[in-house]
């Protein structure tokens, strides 16, 4: 699946103007979007999901044009088949875990899960090892459990692309490492390409096949640069190399934490 993005947007706020000009292509299954906070990563993902309308440009996913300012094409978010796992997961607090995961499969007037939907949801809950939480509300869940619910909800509708905004930042470090590997396993299982925002170099080292680096609203580096990183020997050395590479790439911005 190929994603081609070339969008511009001028944002005003708090007395300053922010110019976003994001231009990149993803060819691999896992692409990491890296950069300091406020560099335009999240806004770009919102544009891909259809939650922010760029002033100009074009977004193409596979053979579908999601957005094209010149041709007046702007698919609404609900028709893009682009799933989005938000940083705070944005689960529906008034629905149970099962109802959250069933949301993409339901109609607005339906209160109870139809048998076919129930079956499909239970399969997802099993995959994510949260079947025992089916009747709980999100307010009772731990951070890791919430993330599993958010991932199950995002994937149940078989999206063409999965966007993740800092997926591990709310988790403790031990869980983080485990979830990285789980995410890669999920990618295989659901055959869905991932576009992951992070400013954690460890995420880059574990996940990235493709990398896009943002600085001040511009894409400063993309793609093949990662080959260099993977040439280095595995283990901590890779992390160090990535860290060094990335802090060079975003030089002028703040250091990655």
């Amino acid at each position: 699946m190929k994603l081609a993005v070339d969008v511009a947007r001028r944002l005003h706020g708090q007395g300053r103007t922010f110019e976003l000009h994001a231009r990149f292509e993803c060819h691999h299954d896992v692409t990491v979007v890296f950069g300091p906070s406020g560099s335009g990563k999240s806004v770009t993902l919102q544009a891909v999901a259809g939650l922010m309308r760029p002033d100009s440009g074009r977004i193409v996913l596979g053979d579908r044009v999601l957005f094209d300012a010149a041709q007046g094409i702007d698919l609404p978010a609900r028709e893009r088949r682009v799933a989005y796992v938000f940083q705070d997961y944005a689960l529906f607090p008034h629905l149970t875990v099962a109802q959250n995961v069933a949301f993409p499969l339901m109609r607005w007037w339906q209160r109870r899960l139809p048998p076919a939907v129930h079956e499909r949801v239970m399969v997802m809950l099993e995959v994510f090892e949260i079947a025992h939480l089916a009747a709980d509300h999100p307010g009772r869940l731990s951070g890791g459990q919430k993330q599993r619910v958010a991932l199950a909800r995002a994937l149940v509708g078989e999206p063409a692309l999965l966007l993740l905004d800092e997926p591990f930042s709310a988790l403790d470090p031990l869980l983080r490492e485990r979830m990285r590997h789980e995410l890669l396993a999920l990618r295989e299982r659901f055959a869905v390409p991932l576009l992951v925002i992070t400013h954690d170099p460890d995420d880059v080292a574990t996940l990235a096949q493709d990398i896009i680096v943002f600085r001040e609203g511009q894409v400063v580096t993309t793609g093949a640069t990662l080959d260099m990183v993977h040439d280095v020997e595995t283990g901590p050395q890779v992390r160090r190399a990535v860290r060094r590479f990335l802090s060079e790439a975003v030089a002028g911005g703040e250091d990655p934490p």
Partner: protein, 228 residues
């Protein structure tokens, strides 16, 4: 039981009329208040703050001033009233329907304010999550925004009901005080006191107080309860 001048009807007729008027006014205000609140909470337009102030105005203006505005609008020779009379033969002035409109205008800001605050507390991110998951704008409203805001809306609606039940000034100006037709509870209290019918006045006052306390307690409980 206190001896009631004019018999039990002197109490039950205005009470029943008040409940009818307040019920209709609350229903009107619930629909209008939620619609306007959603619009203001979710869109940005020029003059939004002025519009908000106008919508809130009935809360701070003297009811007699509102009554006067209503006469200008829906009176027999009012802008809308004249047209209604000429086109449909509808006359609102000195009818219980007129009392409904007066009560609705006075109670409107209570629903509007509560609903706007409730809508603004629903995180945009949660609504966006629903959009990305394939929900139409109607479904976002019906399945996400409204369920997350309904406590606040219902609490405002209960206050609006209590306010409509007690409406006096605007109702008197628009609908008058016709016993059995437009003489609501609070107007009946005034008339009873003027006529020296203390028994009726006492009974009406106690009934009103009990209903209002029940509504306030109920509305307070709704606001403090939280999702599990």
């Amino acid at each position: 039981m206190l001896p009631l001048e004019g018999g039990a009807a002197a109490v039950w007729v205005p009470l029943a009329l008040s409940l009818k008027v307040a019920g209709w006014a609350t229903a009107l205000v619930l629909v209008a208040g939620v619609a306007v609140a959603w619009f203001v909470a979710r869109t940005r337009f020029r003059g939004r703050e002025v519009f908000d102030a106008v919508m809130t105005l009935p809360m701070v203006m003297p009811p007699t001033v509102l009554g006067y505005y209503l006469l200008v609008l829906i009176g027999r020779r009012g802008w809308i009233g004249e047209w209604l009379d000429a086109t449909f033969g509808i006359v609102l002035i000195f009818t219980w329907q007129g009392a409904v409109i007066a009560a609705a205008v006075v109670a409107f800001p209570l629903v509007y304010k509560a609903a706007r605050a409730a809508f603004e507390e629903v995180p945009r991110q949660t609504e966006n999550a629903a959009r990305v998951l394939g929900a139409s704008e109607w479904r976002v409203f019906a399945n996400v925004t409204l369920p997350l805001a309904w406590r606040g809306i219902l609490s405002g609606t209960m206050l609006a009901f209590a306010r409509a039940l007690g409406e006096f000034g605007a109702t008197l100006m628009v609908a008058g005080s016709i016993p059995g037709k437009t003489q609501t509870l609070s107007i009946a209290v005034y008339e009873a006191v003027q006529a020296g019918q203390d028994g009726v006045a006492n009974f009406l006052v106690i009934t009103t107080s009990v209903v209002c306390i029940a509504v306030l307690v109920g509305s307070g409980r709704l606001l403090t309860a939280r999702h599990p």
